[in-house]
Symmetry: C2
């Protein structure tokens, strides 16, 4: 989640800084001045010591879904929010959440070994010894299973890794695979393994990826120690997240549950995560060829692909219980547009103590809520309704956010303006991903936040850092574009249901990049001691997160015209369409090259009798696709967007209510209630987590994945569907533009607009 590309003339920037008296986009000059004053008051409030103490309190015990301290935390959060003067409540749902009944992993054969499957307490770390409250190391939503077979090493376990195995002549059919964590969402690994016929899946943390390769292991440094284990969900969330038994509806009492044996999103084979200490004897037992260079991890021996001569016995069984979810929801009613909702969220549950994930984001969010409570007491009255959410059950499957949003789906489709998410937070650079209709808005807010370390704006900092790390071509693009590009959302946190299922414009934001933030990811050592010794130890960036997210919420809630902007969106769609064409062309030339290399004898030339290799099959040449509808729609959207944005700018913050209602609908129009092919829950036509990446986004996913999966008819159909949605979006913008005042005269004549100064709360007014 980084802003990876960027721009704007450097010298122009100096003029546009905090307090420079600029007018906020979507505000009349008067309302802008008022808003800027309130925002400045707000940003002075978040307190680093409070963030630290909130983290200490919330991380004092393990607080996974279903644990006593999870509920205790929810109730404490509720009490805090109420104490800030906010209207808060707990909304309760339930969800399937399996916990281990038994776990066994052993290497049989001449040198037998039984895995410990346990993270030992570390003496300097006071909470690491809370073993009776800790969830054991396991992967949630692995099915029960008891299998014995030789093992095969499959690198990261992605589809492309199995292509390499095919070339080596290695099959995983009937085998147990051992895959290292990383490079894809973990749930992809057992899914792809099962598709290739494996009967079990072991996941382990290689020190090359989050151990001593990157820094000293805990507790000397931040990185994962030899016996550290990454817990985590392996549910097939690219099909749908949330409670597996209630897709599409909120899991409240009385809702019909899909029977367990009908649930599609459990793994097809048993899965267990282990440490590299436990993985070492298994990896050493592998025979066969040395693996390709890119497959080698950081352990001090040669990695072989297998299969092993000795067999491995993997047996896991779970309690398949439903557990309560406690979402803590606080609402600040809008003074002018109570039916327009600006939503902010971060989860509060963790796999264990969860200082980094999620409390480094939760505590700043709580501090935002406290600060907004203070502003309310000083007389601030947001124009729109603000909803602060503290989600439960994110870790297993985005449960709390998904069930809440599914339950409130009709209201949200009607009222939700935007959703601002955060999760674990770190030290370093501003990072945001989200809907490109908010790209300009996010850039504008980031221009107004001061970086604690460099004292320049966080926007300027990330832009310069991106420039310094870019290739010459990328640098040129960053320097010549006004806004930093904001990458699209994949999945992996609570924004998923908002953007992908409901079509609510969303942003996920945070800070990071200077520390090794993933060293204890989903481990017992992700706790207060670890975070306060190695991460954002001063909580400067916790404060910066609160300032940034809170400013976004306020500025969106108070705007006269919602500060959506569509030129950036249209530019991005144009980029995506270009990528799809390149992908299509690349697949065609790759297939041609593949066939030519087979026919000219390259594989005969590469034949090494000591390392036999299986040539790839001759491939059919992909046909040309009809991109015309997408090209047309992309052009039409670009024209409509530029025209709308100009008219918006000319309107100077003055517009009738209908424009805001159109803007709220703008993201919804990018969805299709039929959903994506084979996964109807995912309805956004521009963004989805990849079916085979899990976290990583696939943009224009219906088309892109059809091309990747060589479904050419489906690709053509999806092109037409996406093009139609983009044409509707363009139409909406034309319609909205009609509502905007068309001349200076008209603007002057406009009826008392949204931002009548007298109606708006100004700092200093008592209330």
């Amino acid at each position: 989640m980084r802003l990876t590309l960027a721009a704007v003339c450097l010298f122009a920037f100096a003029a546009h800084a905090v307090d420079s008296g600029h007018v906020l986009r979507g505000y009349t000059p008067g309302d802008s001045a008022t808003e800027i004053t309130w925002e400045q008051k707000f940003r002075a409030l978040p307190d680093r010591d409070r963030i630290r103490e909130d983290m200490r309190r919330l991380s004092a015990y393990p607080h996974n879904i279903g644990s006593p301290y999870d509920r205790n935390n929810a109730e404490w959060l509720l009490a805090q929010l109420k104490s800030y003067g906010l209207d808060a409540k707990i909304e309760q749902f339930t969800a399937l959440f399996p916990t281990p009944k038994s776990r066994l992993l052993e290497l049989l054969g001449p040198e037998p070994f039984r895995a410990k499957l346990q993270e030992p307490p570390v003496s300097v770390d006071p909470t690491s010894g809370q073993t009776s409250e800790q969830l054991p190391t396991y992967n949630a939503y692995s099915r029960d299973g008891d299998v014995t077979a030789p093992i095969v090493y499959v690198n990261y376990g992605r589809p492309e890794d199995y292509e390499v195995l095919d070339r080596m002549g290695i099959s995983v059919k009937g085998k147990i695979v051992i895959a290292r964590y990383g490079m894809s969402w973990r749930g992809i690994k057992p899914k792809v393994a099962a598709e290739h016929g494996a009967i079990g899946c072991i996941l382990y943390s290689d020190p090359r990826d989050d151990g001593y390769f990157d820094g000293d292991p805990y507790p000397a440094g931040p990185m994962r120690p030899s016996e550290g284990v990454q817990r985590g969900s392996v549910m097939d969330m690219p099909v749908y997240p949330g409670d597996p038994q209630t897709p599409g509806v909120g899991a409240v009492p009385g809702v019909k549950l899909i029977p367990l044996d009908k649930v599609e999103t459990l793994t097809k084979i048993p899965v267990l995560p282990i440490s590299w200490a436990d993985a070492t004897p298994l990896l050493k037992s592998l025979g066969g060829e040395t693996v390709p260079e890119a497959w080698r991890g950081g352990l001090p021996f040669t990695y072989h692909v297998g299969p092993s001569t000795a067999k491995v016995h993997l047996a896991v069984a779970f309690n398949w219980d439903r557990k309560p979810l406690y979402d803590v929801i606080a609402r600040i009613p809008g003074s002018r547009y109570p039916d327009q909702w600006v939503i902010r969220g971060n989860h509060h549950d963790a796999w264990v103590n969860g200082a980094g994930d999620p409390l480094s984001g939760t505590s700043p969010e709580l501090e935002e809520a406290r600060a907004l409570g203070q502003l309310l007491q000083q007389g601030w009255k947001p124009e729109r309704t603000i909803i602060y959410c503290f989600w439960d059950g994110e870790e297993p499957a985005l449960l709390g956010s998904t069930e809440w949003a599914e339950y409130h789906a009709d209201e949200l489709k009607q009222h939700a303006v935007a959703y601002f998410n955060s999760d674990g937070n770190g030290r370093g650079y501003f990072q945001a991903e989200g809907s490109q209709s908010l790209e300009n808005f996010v850039n504008d807010v980031a221009r107004d936040i001061q970086d604690p370390e460099t004292k320049m704006s966080v926007w300027k900092r990330v832009r310069l850092v991106d420039i310094s790390r870019a290739t010459p071509e990328e640098r040129e693009k960053i320097r010549s574009r006004a806004d930093l590009r904001m990458p699209a959302l994949g999945s992996g946190s609570d924004y998923t249901v908002f953007i992908d299922h409901l079509g609510i414009a969303s942003v996920d934001l945070g800070y990071g990049g200077e520390d090794e933030e993933d060293g204890q990811y989903h481990s017992v050592y992700d706790d207060f001691y670890w975070y306060t010794h190695f991460e954002d130890t001063t909580f400067d960036y916790g404060r910066a997160l609160a300032q940034t997210a809170g400013t976004m919420v306020m500025r969106m809630a108070d705007a006269d015209i919602l500060p959506f902007q569509f030129s950036d969106l249209a530019d991005t769609v144009h980029l995506y369409v270009g990528q799809l064409k390149s992908l299509d062309a690349a697949m065609r030339s790759k297939a041609k090259e593949n066939n030519l290399e087979i026919s000219e004898g390259d594989y005969k030339a590469l034949y090494d009798p000591k390392k036999p290799m299986v040539p790839p099959p001759v491939e059919p040449i992909p046909p040309y696709l009809n991109f015309a509808p997408l090209d047309q729609a992309s052009d039409d959207l670009t024209e409509a967007a530029q025209s709308f944005d100009s008219a918006y700018a000319a309107a100077g913050g003055i517009a009738p209510v209908g424009v805001n209602l159109d803007l709220i609908r703008s993201e919804r129009l990018l969805t299709d209630p039929r959903g994506l092919p084979n996964r109807p829950w995912f309805q956004h036509l521009l963004y989805a987590p990849g079916f085979y990446t899990g976290y990583g986004v696939k943009t224009i996913p219906g088309v892109r994945e059809a091309i990747e999966q060589k479904k050419w008819t489906e690709a053509d159909e999806q092109i037409a569907r996406v093009a139609a949605a983009l044409e509707h979006e363009a139409e909406l913008l034309k319609q909205a533009q009609q509502l905007l005042p068309k001349s200076d005269e008209e603007i002057a004549r406009a009826p008392a607009p949204t931002g009548v100064a007298s109606r708006r709360s100004s700092p200093g007014q008592s209330n």
Copy 2:
């Protein structure tokens, strides 16, 4: 040493195979048929069992320069050559060759450690236990020294690694550096360290580079074990190789020696190589920041840059003796042009038992000599004189070849046609580097050698392998070029004095790429057991080397007109000139970008208080250089070369003697007796080992290194000098072309040409 790029129409190839009745370039049709028959007879002779047994005999004991078995081997080689019926002798020289008197390396401080500095015997390996005959682990031509200081890790110890240290704010001044082997010639590491103020240098073999990362360690697999050490020279050979006390002249009795304290090419600081087992406590003692990702090796802990708190004590002292060199030289007199010499060489000395390096090349060379002896007995009479050389003292500093060629310099300048070198050989693909005037010749020979594994020609095999590994752009170039590109020669073996000092067209050739050939490089474990268990175990590629090099020697010795070709040379020069311009432009834009990033604040943005960084200085912008003389000369050479090559083809192998004499001079004209700036021994203007790479070639080195080192005036001067040489080359080609017959008529009328069938020995004639 690989052919890395390539080409020719695939379908055209099938027609051009062994025995297809094609006419060899530079031969009349009749002479070509005769030659092809002799070559086929030759290629049937090399015997894999003999190659194996020769290797077993020569590797039975350590045979470094000065050892009893080195001399024993030389005498045995002499006897073998004589037994083949060849006129052979030993030519003796002497050279400075230091051996260790004492070696000490210890870590002081709270956890003291003393390095073992010894490679233990391995029970399955019979020669690994010959400890009393083995040279200790050390770096030859390190100066004596006794230093105590903290250590700093400098990655591979190249100039660019010190730039990274500068950014991290780490100085090596007054420190001992520890550098890993690899990525540059080892002698560069202490040289650059001393330039930066270090007072000692430790070299170690990281398992990431030649240990368990690439394959199982010995004796389970071919790779370097924990206590394996790479011996090797650290003399400053980019200044001059050979005996340090007699640069430029043969070290025979009576020659004046430079006093030891005036020798420039010894290291400025003491150096010692160690195993990774010995390096581990030292590396673990390092404090400071975690090193950049590219600096991390394969050991199971976090690599820190240092400096260490604990000090390291390094003390080495050497016996500075002169030792005898035994070059074994066999001569087959030319029947028609005895004064035109075709030279073939491979060294016979080793650091220890040296089965891979060099005997896997020496034994095939001996087998070539035996096979040529057989041909002579069958009546073959080479047109030109053939000289087979078995060099001593290559390992310390290319001693035997350099002293021999310096001693015979005047004759060689007059008579040498070409030099064909090999060194250690392995299993896999044909590899050649050399003078581009021989590129077409080498391609032609490679087209006629059958690959033992695939049964296709070795030329076709390497071309297809290159294609399969190339980027799409490179593939296009390979497929569209008739000849495979032959990379230029850097240094690292005995061709150096021939090509770089004397300007004799040279080729270095061998096979490899399928096995891990460097796993025991310069270790006691590079022995017969290791080679015959893990490398070219069948000696199929030893035989292929003998067939290839022998065919080259025969075809060059027997040609009517020497098969030099200049279009490939001109094409390559054009490529080099383009590279120089790109380098110049890249340095200019890099400096501009550097300065812009400083001015726009990128380094302020990157500032991390936990990892302070020192911004680079503002750089002067490199001026534009005058490439016009080089462009002109490159064009003139191209025109002259294409014209000459056409006339050559039209002449059909018929030409007066003068053409051959001009061709012999063609490589000499590419040298300048003034030599390269600051290293007059290196006289070739197109090729030299890099002053800061050691092995790696710098093409058009005078210009390229001037640009790299930002000496702009020197760059302009060198451009003019190289351009003048290229213009002379073009003139020579024009002059030679004048001597060629100009029409079919003239060809028909030509006086009895070089290849009168009756004078030429044909197979089947008795003699």
